[in-house]
């Protein structure tokens, strides 16, 4: 599971942080409510997960709450047998 978390964490850092942004992001950091990922940009994360793990996450499951931390995302992925 921590492999999955690390994959997601690395993607979030690469995708959403600017080069000079030295904010520390952990598995527990609030991504959406913390302003790191805005609602317009969430789609990238969703498409990344779907392509990476060959799954389809319906819109009613891809909620801001489910995507708010790497830990939450890992819980969501577990439902799709990704761990």
């Amino acid at each position: 599971m921590s492999d999955v978390k690390n994959v997601v964490l690395n993607y979030v850092k690469k995708e959403y942080l600017e080069e000079d942004d030295d904010r520390e992001i952990t598995f527990e950091t609030p991504l959406i409510s913390g302003g790191i990922v805005d609602s317009f940009s969430m789609v990238s994360l969703l498409v990344f997960l779907e392509n990476k793990y060959n799954i389809k996450i319906p819109p009613d499951e891809a909620t801001p709450e489910a995507f708010d931390t790497v830990n939450n995302i890992a819980v969501l992925l577990k439902r799709y047998k990704v761990e």
Binding site: E18, D38, S39, F40, S41, V43, S44, V47
Partner: protein, 415 residues
């Protein structure tokens, strides 16, 4: 009485929170026409103070230009005060059509539609032309009005890192299957004063069959050799599908905005854009003034050239004085102070020395990026800028930040 004490308490508490967080906005009362020198009553109730204005969007100095004022006066006499109608019922006069034609010619587009403001243009255009089958891919630093317009639209959304063309290309590849892909950017970014790489953006748009949208509010009238805007600066006139811009900044500064671009897009806005359909027409007096502005700036680049010279002088002066500015070439020149309180204190100090310039800090700009945003105008004479430079230098000395690095300033004042 519906506004009970309980309800009042909710709002009082919320306002108190805003005050405590240091982001409570207060108006400064100006008791003169907009210009490079204004009289200000601040704080409210104090005597009027004459100051040099370094924070207006009056880039071309046309806000109170006698020819523009005269044209507006004539418009008032010949076409009246108000229209009491939206455009499509009985709110379109000959002068509205004249202004749309002039804007089309000036911007080098196919057609133009006026809106009550550029905020309204941005609020209406996306919803009018895009559907859930489409995608909007925006630069992450676009203006708040674009963000609001995107929220009102049902198309999918995505973003790319500020001016990062590699990242934009990844997004265009990711959304290849969308019916319409619209790349969205400001032309000149209002907080940093940098310009979008429109030549590169157009190249990518052509490669991936995407449309391009540019909000050129902080560029129309003065960026580019003849002031047409960022698309002229980047050599892509005629290649931007949708331009929104404002009459509320360089173009006389009164109010009003427009969507200018492909004929079909403009027509879709006439049929479907809600701020156009449900909001009053721009008043004749403003349209008449704006028509005159377009005549002035279409005939000569004199004002835009003076602005360019003022900008060069100002940027060089601040740098030599030892202040840190955001590099660039636009008349938006942010003086970086990094710390929010310092930006407020610095602004107050400048005001003491007769200079009006405002501090910006989080959430308007990212945390640790507090600044004084200065804006040049063709109405500034050299003596105004010399006096302003002197004040910036004195304030810089007082806070001991001259010739200091970003890290040294942060170490002293904190983020």
């Amino acid at each position: 009485m519906a506004f009970s004490q309980d309800i009042r308490a909710i709002y009082q508490k919320e306002l108190e929170t805003i005050r405590e967080s240091g982001i409570f906005k207060e108006e400064r009362i100006i008791c003169a026409p907009q210009s490079s020198e204004i009289e200000v009553e601040f704080p409210v109730g104090s005597s009027h103070k004459k100051v040099i204005n370094m924070c207006a969007n009056n880039y071309l100095g046309l806000s109170s230009h006698p020819d523009v004022v005269e044209a507006a006066r004539k418009g008032l006499e010949h076409r009246g005060y108000g229209m009491s109608s939206v455009r499509f019922i009985c709110g379109t006069q000959d002068i509205h059509k004249e202004l749309e034609k002039k804007l089309t010619a000036f911007l080098g587009t196919e057609d133009t539609i006026l809106f009550p403001s550029c905020m309204d243009a941005n609020a209406g255009v996306f919803e009018a032309v895009l559907t859930p089958e489409d995608v909007m891919i925006s630069d992450r630093l676009v203006h708040a009005s674009i963000v609001d317009g995107m929220r009102l639209c049902k198309a999918q959304t995505d973003t790319f890192k500020h001016s990062d063309m590699g990242h934009l290309e990844e997004k265009l590849q990711l959304h290849q299957k969308a019916r319409v892909k619209l790349i969205i950017t400001d032309g000149s970014f209002s907080m940093d004063g940098d310009l979008a790489k429109l030549d590169k953006i157009v190249e990518l748009a052509e490669k991936y069959n995407a449309m391009v949208f540019v909000d050129d509010s902080h560029a129309t009238g003065f960026i580019g050799k003849t002031g047409r805007g960022t698309h002229e600066h980047c050599g892509v006139v005629g290649k931007i599908d949708i331009i929104t811009t404002t009459l509320g900044k360089a173009l006389g500064g009164a109010s009003g905005g427009c969507v200018s671009g492909r004929r079909e897009i403009v027509e879709m806005c006439r049929q479907k854009a809600r701020p156009y359909l449900f909001s009053n027409t721009i008043p004749p007096v403003v349209v008449s003034g704006a028509n005159r502005v377009l005549d002035i700036i279409s005939k000569t680049t004199e004002r835009r050239d003076k602005l360019e010279k003022n900008t060069e002088f100002w940027r060089k002066g601040l740098t030599e004085a030892g202040l840190i500015i955001k590099e660039g070439e636009t008349p938006i020149v942010p003086v970086m102070l990094f710390n929010a309180k310092l930006s407020q204190d610095f602004s107050r100090e400048l005001y003491e020395h007769g200079i009006y310039a405002v501090g910006f800090f989080f959430p308007v700009v990212p945390k640790g990026q507090a600044r004084i945003r200065t804006q040049l105008s063709a109405a500034h004479e050299r003596h105004h800028l010399e006096k302003a430079l002197e004040a910036f230098t004195r304030a810089g000395k007082k806070f001991d930040i001259l010739h200091k690095t970003k890290q040294e300033i942060i170490d002293k004042f904190g983020m």
